[in-house]
């Protein structure tokens, strides 16, 4: 009888020990891994306010937010109408222009190509929007991907109009 119980008890103790050991090891390793994630000082720089009063229609400025370029473009009537009349079926990543620009005159985007992170050039490419020189992605006047390897449209950051002349990003 005891001979039969002994190994079972041992097996249980071994398994329990391995399990606790694995949990403990995981808990000990996590700080070693997590230290590489964005730290408090990086996260603290999470909002930027931009004065846009001096931007004329058709012009664009680039500001830095969390180390990334943000394109703020004051679009012309022509650019807005071009962006609005595109058929969603022609898009790789279908998104209405009105969903991308809260105020159609102002387009605020993260200026980072969704392919491999280069900064696209303005007023270039086959769709008169942006063109990424690295691997040839073309974006339209709404910053939507039209041609090339990028999988998605230029990302829209979280932003709001604090007043008529100020945009708060983040």
């Amino acid at each position: 009888m005891t001979n039969k119980i002994e190994p079972k008890r041992r097996n249980f103790l071994f398994t329990a020990t391995y399990t606790i050991g694995a949990v403990g090891l995981g808990a000990a390793v996590w700080p070693l891994v997590d230290q590489m994630n964005p730290d408090a000082s990086v996260k603290a720089l999470s909002t930027t306010e931009v004065d846009v009063s001096s931007i004329e229609p058709g012009k664009e400025i680039t500001v830095l937010w969390r180390g990334k370029p943000i394109f703020i473009k004051r679009r012309t009537e022509k650019e807005i109408s071009e962006a609005a009349k595109v058929n969603l079926k022609d898009l790789k990543d279908p998104e209405k222009d009105s969903d991308r620009a809260k105020n159609p005159e102002w387009l605020v985007m993260i200026g980072v190509c969704t392919h491999l992170g280069c900064v696209p050039l303005k007023n270039k490419g086959e769709y008169k929007g942006w063109f990424c020189p690295c691997h040839g992605s073309h974006y339209d006047t709404s910053g939507r991907i039209r041609k090339g390897p990028a999988p998605t449209n230029l990302e829209i950051p979280k932003y709001e109009f604090v007043d008529n002349n100020t945009i708060k990003i983040g």
Binding site: M36, N37, P38, V42, G67, K68, C118, V119, P133, P151
Partner: protein, 428 residues
């Protein structure tokens, strides 16, 4: 010549060796039997060891003067170049040394491909070698980021963004790699830390690489097993040591021709512009040794697909010992494989050329053909050749291809006759 066991000559040596057998190890390394027909393609292992040690020594010296901070990194490199005594030499040896390291490793890998050195019983040598190659690429990539020039910054951005192609967790992974929301100071710091660490891991793997080599012994140009304990092998020292040193000297001529006369030829001029996160250079190119993979990345018209194919192009090599099922090792006796081997060499060089060109028009089409061929070679041609190729008859001994040539024996007798009376003795 076979390997004799080490016999300590003194009491002290016996005392020491029985406690820590370093003398036995040293004896083994000297008397290690090598096939007598090894050609100069076999000298690149020694050259690569030299390259690794050179990179470690110059790297440790550069680390004494370099500052890993986005505000100071670029200036500290210029400080090394202009102010530090011989700093220019250390940096140019280190930066060109990386290129020379890759040049040698590519010759070493293609030598293995030609002579079938990856085949049984040498699979472990091959796989450890590939791990070394991966570590080399990671180390070289991170090293290129440290000067914090435009190519450093944008190269780092493009390569780390490869991981954003992973579904669901891609963005968290890239933020974790960066330590932020873009390539920035935390990224530079950790790359510096890892750039210092990885060469020592590589060194450890090199020891395993050589250890796993010393179990079956060297392959050779004929590709048949040598008879250990026969006159088919020679002790590593002094024969191979001298041959390796001769090759190393020739290699150093090329190495230092670059260091002294064309130190920036292999680099990109844009890396002498400080990093600017707002302006992407018109044309981002990696260092030359990574170009074939960059061409594969861009040849696939999908972000995730490009990344998968690029990594697959390296990992497919791990399966090579099993994909190539031919029992004959050396391409010398494989008439069809030999032709495809050279097609592969040309394809890889072509992909390298295309990796430096913009991905459009004819360049893109050729890159796609090259990528397709690369995978067809390993995944389709090699298994088929292993089954259907009619190989040439193998010689019985590694001496035969030399001695079987008409008149070869007479020539040897004549040569030996010239030395008669010196130290050689009678040639039989």
């Amino acid at each position: 010549m076979s390997e004799e066991k080490y016999v300590p000559k003194t009491k002290l040596a016996e005392w020491f060796d029985s406690r820590l057998p370093l003398l036995s190890l040293s004896h083994h390394l000297k008397s290690y039997p090598t096939p007598k027909n090894l050609n100069y393609w076999w000298t690149f292992g020694g050259i690569l060891t030299f390259c690794l040690i050179t990179q470690i020594v110059t790297g440790i010296i550069l680390a004494m003067h370099y500052v890993a901070h986005t505000e100071h990194a670029f200036a500290s490199i210029e400080h090394i170049m202009r102010d530090v005594n011989y700093g220019w030499l250390m940096r140019y040896v280190h930066s060109n040394g990386a290129s020379m390291f890759f040049l040698a490793v590519y010759i070493h890998i293609f030598r293995g491909l030609y002579f079938g050195s990856y085949k049984a019983p040498r699979e472990m040598i091959w796989i450890i070698g590939l791990a070394i190659y991966l570590l080399m690429m990671a180390t070289a990539f991170m090293g290129y980021v440290l000067p914090w020039g435009q190519m450093s910054f944008w190269g780092a951005t493009v390569i780390t963004n490869l991981f954003s192609a992973i579904p669901l967790i891609g963005e968290s992974v890239t933020n974790w790699l960066w330590g932020g929301f873009s390539v920035d100071n935390p990224t530079l710091n950790r790359f510096y830390s890892l750039h210092y660490l990885l060469p020592f891991l590589t060194f450890g793997l090199v020891i395993l690489h050589i250890w796993s080599l010393h179990i079956p012994g060297n392959n050779n140009p004929v590709g048949i097993d040598v008879k250990k304990g026969s006159n088919e092998t020679m002790p590593f020292h002094p024969y191979m040591v001298m041959k390796d040193l001769t090759a190393l000297l020739a290699f150093l001529l090329l190495f230092f021709a670059f260091v002294f006369f064309l130190p920036d030829f292999l680099g990109h001029p844009d890396n002498y512009i400080p990093a600017d996160p707002l302006i992407t250079p018109a044309h981002i190119v990696p260092e030359w040794y990574l170009l074939p993979f960059y061409a594969i990345l861009r040849a696939i018209p999908s972000k995730l697909g490009g990344v998968i194919f690029m990594f697959a192009s390296i990992f497919v090599l791990v399966g090579l010992p099993w994909l190539d099922s031919s029992k004959v090792r050396s391409a010398t006796f494989r008439p069809i494989y030999k032709k495809f081997f050279w097609v592969l060499v040309i394809t890889v060089i072509l992909l390298g050329y295309l990796g430096a060109k913009p991905p459009e028009g004819i360049y893109l089409i050729l890159a796609r053909i090259g990528t397709a061929y690369y995978f067809i070679h390993f995944l389709i041609l090699l298994p088929l050749l292993g089954r259907y190729e009619k190989t040439d008859p193998l010689p019985m001994s590694i001496s035969d291809p030399v001695l079987d040539k008409p008149g070869a024996l007479d020539k040897f007798k004549e040569m030996a006759g010239k030395y008669e009376g010196e130290n050689v003795g009678t040639f039989k």
